[in-house]
Amino acid sequence: MSATTSPGTPPRVRLATMWLDGCSGCHMSLLDIDEALVAVAPRIEMVYGPLVDAQEFPENVDVTLIEGAVSNHDDLEHVRTARARSRLLVALGDCAVTSNVPSMRNRWPVKNLLETIYVAGTDTGRLVPTEGVPPLLKKSVPLHDIVKIDLHVPGCPPAAPVILFTLTALLDGHMPDFTDPCVVSKVRFG
């Protein structure tokens, strides 16, 4: 993908993606739009995310798609950076929208949880890791608990046609309506 535009064509939309506490399924689903990628690709410039090689979240991003819940201190920082540097922030998939599977731990205090897994649950080690891993938040929460989210795309993962419908709408400069008869049967909440 190159960032150059030929004169006369509209500037490419600067798109970033971000992977927080999720399984990467939403990114997979994004790639699952298959040949439609070819049609979408010339209209976007991928500036950040697991699919490209950028080290730092750039400034002036038009749209950022975020997969995953906010579960630890790193997630917190990342989602705040994304908010500050993006025009439009999209919660992509149920973990980002509802905190989904990551939230299943929310019913137990973090301390009990870690000890159950790393101390009681193993014969080796018997130590809760603290180095090189960001501390967990008390609860795993949806993105909109932390920053303002402009659009929620539910689904675990959102079906490829739903992602395509979303991208096309955003590239055409409007918000998608998921009750639209052409996608409603493919949208799933929760």
Partner: protein
């Protein structure tokens, strides 16, 4: 012969029988009103508030499934206000317990989920409650997962009204309300349960399910219950 009344549903003049609910009249007129706790063939509970409608001249919204239609009533079933309130009711249901659809046996066949899509709910604005709730797997064939129960009382009603066993009821009140089996007994020890499975088939969510189903595998059969309800109705 029961008395005839006329009701206006979204501007359309309908003839109905006295005693019919707004929901029934609207349905006969081909107007769709979202509903969750209501189920054909069972009495109405009015617990979910999804079927709210506007009645001309009344300041507050009324549940269509429990409000009797009256002669000369003018009812609106679709509007921005209604959509707003229905969405809010749904979001509150989602936030109250732990609906992790991705790992639910009823994923894709759940009425709560379907309503969210129908009404365009794409996120829940209220903080999730994350309660710690039990799962009762003591019955040899069925499971009750309180995490997914929306307290619609369909199971209570079908077991009482169609099966005649009245195994279930709601204990406690407010946010602490819980579905209970007899005197808060494990289902597997219930003396009054016949094991007919009607409660499982009418439960709109993955709260009452058959054992041995994997994620997305639990589809429910409403047909037999509807059929029994019809026959009961037809009896003199």
């Amino acid at each position: 012969m029961s008395q005839k009344i006329s009701v206006r549903i979204d501007g359309q003049l309908c003839t109905a029988e006295a005693g019919q609910t707004i929901y029934q009249v609207a349905q006969a007129a081909g107007r769709h009103i979202p509903a969750l706790c209501h189920m054909e063939g069972l009495s109405s509970a009015g617990s979910c508030r999804l079927c709210l409608v506007q009645v001309e001249g009344l300041g507050r919204l009324l549940p269509a499934c429990t409000t009797p239609a009256r002669d000369g009533m003018a009812v609106t079933t679709q509007s921005e206000t209604l959509a707003h309130n229905r969405r809010m009711a749904l979001e509150l249901l989602f936030s109250e317990r732990n609906h992790i659809c991705a790992v639910c046996v009823s994923n894709g066949h759940c009425e709560l989920q379907a309503l969210a899509c129908e009404l365009g709910v794409t996120s829940v604005r209220f903080p999730y409650n994350y309660p710690r709730l039990p799962v009762d797997a003591s019955h040899p064939r069925f499971v009750l997962d309180h995490n997914r129960c929306v307290l619609c009382t369909r199971c209570v009603r079908v077991c009482d009204e169609i099966e005649g066993a009245h195994v279930w009821d709601i204990a406690g009140r407010g946010i602490a309300s819980m579905l209970v089996c007899e005197l808060d007994r494990p289902w597997g020890e219930a003396e009054s349960c016949t094991g007919c499975g009607k409660c499982v088939q009418v439960c709109p969510t993955g709260a009452l399910v058959e054992k041995g189903r994997a994620v997305e595998e639990m589809t429910k059969r409403r047909g037999p219950v509807l059929h029994l309800a019809e026959r009961k109705e037809a009896r003199p």
